[in-house]
């Protein structure tokens, strides 16, 4: 499994906030992404968008409620089409399956189109170790592969790289110095990749959708690299989670309206690739073998939890990242695992273990903007709350991760707020205690946490001379 750094969210977020270059980049680019989405919705009309969202959501719900049926249907169809379906319980099993295919057929060069599941599995280092050269062919993925980093964003993996960064990277890693503009850089990458594309004996892809009734794998790309990966190499291996299943081609129409608009504001992507099995005798090209690897890797745990299940409705468009004010500040790497942003804060804790990712469910002001933009209306804030409750109250002690201090505060607050008398008494004591802290009627500094974490940048109003309840009792309640 990909290296888990979710434990370091606190530190990583502080580091990201102090990174001036990253901050200016995030400030400049995030709004543009969401602007494109809004325009696309305006063009479609918001009413129609709502209809599509409802439909998409209903299809996802139906498919997951009948997952066994559709998985079996998909299995039958892919097999009938001449493909092979493999099931992997976890990242390790998935790697072994892919490795075994490469090894037994003596494959040496694998071209990859973008796959987040392959990131979950840390597939590239594994392939390298066994002597297979993996080459990312999506430009963004190629850049981060050269930089030996992980994706910063679900659909824009290298968005944290400036063109100067990429220029330097291309000079160091592929010996193409002095590239000034983006066209030149894309051209250089194209030259290097073209040679790999035509010589590869293995293609590796993810999946955007799996159509059960026809056994079809659907890829949406803008660079055409997905088409290369699925048609040139003699062996094609597609790796995906079971949540990508949809029942029919008709359903695909709904998602093809939702995904590009939510992701990039496009009406449709430049390429939409359908793969229904290996090359047939009358096909001009296509792989001799087609393997579909369906990976669980924690998804069953999401499926089994009625409150978290809808996180599997996600179509990985990245719209929640683009709108999230927290993501805007900390970026993608701070989240510490494959999936960043609001949806990552929900799925990562379940996939890597809540005890390792206790900070993620709290890394949100619960503003709800993610739910507003989600093309499937996934209720992310509710799921974050659910995870917070698990952290605070779970009967399973491995899941319960709450500091003693926090617990005492909660109990103290409950006690205080259970008694108006105690509240009034505390108010009077608080009035005395705050006196030395007052400067021009405001509290500027409280030297101990958690208050110090407030007053480091904001003033705090003092307790009022009389609480409202007293004003009411003495005067206001008697007036009319």
């Amino acid at each position: 499994m990909a290296e888990v750094k979710t434990q370091e969210f606190q530190r990583a977020s502080v580091k990201a906030l102090a990174d001036a270059k990253l901050q200016s980049l995030l400030g400049r680019s995030m709004g543009t992404f969401d602007g494109a989405r809004q325009e696309a919705i305006e063009e479609l009309t918001p009413q129609r968008w709502e209809e599509m969202r409802e439909k998409g959501r209903a299809i996802k719900r139906h498919t997951l409620d009948n997952l066994d049926y559709y998985l079996e249907l998909l299995y039958d169809r892919v097999t009938q089409n001449g493909g092979q379906v493999h099931f992997a319980r976890d990242a390790q099993e998935a790697r072994n399956i892919v490795g075994q295919i490469a090894r037994s057929r003596g494959l040496k060069l694998a071209i990859k189109s973008k796959s987040m599941v392959s990131e979950e599995m840390s597939l590239n280092p594994y392939l390298e170790e066994m002597g297979v050269e993996p080459v990312e062919t999506d430009l963004g993925e190629y850049i981060i592969q050269l930089a030996q980093e992980t994706p910063f964003h679900i659909i824009a993996p290298a968005m944290h790289k400036t063109k100067e960064d990429v220029s330097q990277l291309f000079e160091e890693k592929i010996q193409r110095p002095n590239l000034k503009n983006i066209e030149e850089m894309a051209g250089a990458a194209r030259e290097v990749l073209r040679e790999k594309l035509v010589n590869a004996d293995m293609g590796i892809t993810g999946a955007n959708f799996l159509v059960a009734e026809t056994g079809t794998l659907v890829l949406v790309t803008n660079e055409g690299n997905g088409r290369f990966c699925t048609s040139v190499p003699r062996v094609l291996v597609s790796i995906t989670g079971m949540e990508k299943l949809i029942p029919s081609l008709e359903d695909l129409g709904v998602f093809m309206r939702l995904l590009p608009r939510a992701a990039t504001g496009q009406r449709i992507t430049s390429y939409v690739t359908h793969v229904s099995g290996p090359r047939r005798s009358d096909d001009e090209d296509g792989p001799e073998e087609f393997h579909l690897v369906i990976v669980d890797n924690g998804r069953s745990r999401l499926l089994q939890d009625p409150d978290l299940r809808e996180s599997l409705y996600c179509i990985r468009c990245g719209a929640c990242l683009n709108i999230c004010p927290v993501y805007h500040k900390v970026g993608g790497h701070a989240y510490g695992w494959v999936y960043p942003g609001p949806i990552g804060a929900v799925v990562s804790p379940v996939m890597v273990g809540l005890n390792k990712a206790k900070d993620l469910p709290h890394a949100s002001s619960l503003c709800g903007a993610c739910r507003d933009v989600c093309p499937i209306k996934i209720n992310i804030p509710r799921m974050l709350l659910k995870l917070r409750t698990q952290l605070a109250e779970s009967s399973d002690s491995t899941q319960r991760k709450v500091s003693i201090g926090e617990k005492l505060m909660a109990k103290g607050y409950r006690r205080l707020m259970s008694s108006p008398k105690l509240l009034s008494l505390t108010h009077r004591l608080g009035r005395l205690a705050q006196r030395p802290l007052l400067r021009k009627g405001l509290i500027r500094t409280i030297p101990f946490p958690p208050f110090s974490r407030w007053t480091r940048s904001r003033d705090l109003p003092p307790l009022a001379s009389k609480p409202f309840r007293q004003i009411w009792a003495e005067k206001l309640g008697k007036e009319r």
Binding site: P361, T389, P420, L423, P450, R453, D459
Partner: protein, 246 residues
């Protein structure tokens, strides 16, 4: 006022208004009384439990929620000068008490009676002009829960436009969170401040003298930074503007 039977509303003051901003509660009472509403204040009330609920302490939130259900059981309407506390009672209580055969129906009944202050004025009383006047440029920050849990977006603006002399100016990127988020502001002060800075920049851009909102929590957050930075913009609850006390 009209001859129709008098509307009775119980005020849920919220703990912030009770302890820190009682003047907001006084304004709410004045505005409602001017509209002919009979206002009462159930003295047992404290906190709706939202801070606990949002921190994951569901059982403790239920404990406080029970008190609220009891205190407001006989109210005709419950008016709350906070979008997030109103959302707690209107949206989250029915979920929280869903599997309780006795309290579940009570939570639903309360939910139907709860209105955020601006929502109550516009939706229940059907007024947008409360007879207030204010000279100056005012901008409005839509609080997240008010906007997204309660769906209140037009009401506060309509009320502001109803204030004589008030120059309303829209806040750029208004619907973006100010970074308060309850305990979020102290759990992740750095992220919270980053969000707050963006909000302050937008507030300053408007050139308004007053920033208003329907939630004292957001106002405490944004206002606390305005005074800290010495920015000459006052953070004032909508109810105060509607009594002409900005």
């Amino acid at each position: 006022m009209s001859q129709s039977p008098q509307i009775k509303a119980s005020l849920f003051a919220t703990c912030l208004v009770d302890q820190l901003f009682p003047e907001v509660g006084e304004s709410v009472v004045r505005v409602l009384r001017r509209q002919g509403v009979e206002v009462d204040f159930p003295p047992d009330q404290t906190c709706c439990g939202q801070p606990l609920f949002n921190s994951g302490f569901r059982k403790d939130a239920i404990h406080l929620g029970r008190r609220v259900l009891k205190s407001f059981a006989h109210s005709q309407y419950v008016v709350v000068p906070s979008g997030s506390c109103a959302a707690m009672m209107k949206v989250f209580y029915p979920e929280l008490f869903d599997d309780d055969p006795e309290l579940g129906p009570q939570a639903k009944a309360l939910s139907d009676k709860v209105y955020e202050f601006s929502q109550f004025l516009v939706k229940v009383l059907d007024v947008t002009d409360v007879g207030a006047s204010y000279q100056g440029k005012v901008t409005y920050h839509p609080a997240c829960h008010l906007l997204r849990e309660l769906g209140v977006s037009k009401e506060p603006e309509a009320l502001l436009r109803g204030v004589t002399g008030l120059d309303y100016v829209e806040l750029p990127e208004g619907a973006t969170c100010c970074g308060f988020g309850g305990t979020f502001s102290v759990k992740y002060p750095g992220i919270s401040e980053g969000m707050l800075n963006d909000k302050l920049d937008n507030v300053v851009k408007t050139g308004a003298q007053v920033l208003t909102a329907c939630d004292s929590s957001c106002l405490m957050h944004i206002g606390g930074a305005l005074t800290r930075r010495g920015i000459d913009v006052k953070a004032v609850h909508l109810a105060q503007l509607l009594t002409g006390e900005g």
